[in-house]
Symmetry: C2
């Protein structure tokens, strides 16, 4: 599903490591019957390893990311130190409350809780503070790394709120100064650029979802 | 929290690897103020590495387990092959639907959905089938390993349903033949034995929880 942030994570990994692959997009509403043979719970993304004996399929974006990093070590994205690796994985897990707080707003749910944005910003503070603590341009240091890529898909989608919300919501320039600087840096990354969808498309997709008829094919607008 | 299955996972790891440690039990209802300094979301377990610079604290049982396995490699519990490791981690994730289906019954929730047990058994079938496919006594092969330990805490707790449910629920001996054989084998493991709490205690704890007053201290009954 082209708009799925978890699938986006895997596309970032595959692109960063220049791994040849073939994409099959799945309609999450009218799910094809055969998809369960690859992803038993019907979740996206799923990555079939066609070059491996028995062609097994992996699911769960973080598990896929870690597998690809070990299997294609030319550019390491996870820290090699076990402790730093654990700390980075914990930081990635800390992004879940950010996502769950903003999800109703991001997806234009008319019943979004009144304090959704406040909870979102409080959860996001953790990342603003962490960037300050680490004192590096990227979460993973001087170079882009796993934390950066794993949380990026949502930062690509946040600006759609400026289009879709009544208050034209944007991240506060002062409160999230470091994160916004990081965001600018991220948008210059070649891998981020190669996997990007336009903010207008994200906004349009979210609106179609709210209307109960998600237009997954919007991602292919203009492609023959 | 002595009855927490996720904390139990970490106790199994620490015991299997004979890592010296000191346990502090946390009352999850009256959570001590200082606990947030170690586990920002207040979740258990949290493992502080007192022998490491800055004494960082790790959270999330699976992340802790993987860290300990890498840091104390004397007896490897995770597979070293990246693909098998990914597949085992995915299998461990597949246990989440088992837990969420049975949780209301296990915790004696009077409003447990009518189809809870049916959903639980359907989810558990995955593990019965997987043991058959692997054709080994343990999930991880001829020797006990990470999948076995990570799902074990719930198998220690399931028998409390025989005490606490009206229908004296037990796993069907035929449908779950392989899993029950595996369970018997697991109960003979020294690490499992060392971290075990009696089924009566589990049952009593769950009942106290249902009554709105969880008796965390039951675990220390009889200890001075």
């Amino acid at each position: 599903m082209a708009f799925c942030p978890f699938s986006h994570r895997v596309r970032l990994m595959l692109t960063a490591k220049q791994i040849e692959h073939h994409k099959i997009y799945v309609d999450l509403i009218e799910k094809p019957e055969w998809y369960k043979d690859f992803s038993p719970l019907g979740k996206v993304p799923a990555l079939q390893l066609t070059g491996v004996k028995d062609q097994p399929t992996l699911v769960e974006s973080l598990i896929i990311a870690e597998y690809l990093d070990q299997q294609y070590p030319q550019t390491r994205l996870f820290p090699t130190d076990p402790l730093q690796k654990a700390l980075d994985k914990i930081l990635i897990e800390r992004f879940a409350p950010v996502v769950s707080a903003i999800y109703p707003v991001l997806t234009c749910n008319p019943n979004a809780p009144k304090d959704a944005i406040q909870n979102f910003e409080n959860a996001l503070d953790v990342f603003e503070v962490e960037l300050g603590k680490r004192g590096t341009p990227y979460f993973t240091g001087q170079h882009i790394g796993i934390v950066d890529y794993m949380i990026w898909p949502w930062f690509e989608r946040f600006p759609s709120m400026k289009i879709n919300t009544e208050q034209k919501y944007e991240l506060d320039a002062k409160r999230f100064e470091k994160l916004l600087k990081w965001r600018d840096l991220m948008t210059q990354d070649e891998v981020v650029q190669k996997t990007a969808l336009d903010v207008q498309l994200h906004a349009e997709f979210q609106k179609s979802k709210t209307l109960g008829n998600p237009q997954y094919d919007l991602a292919f607008k203009g492609t023959p």
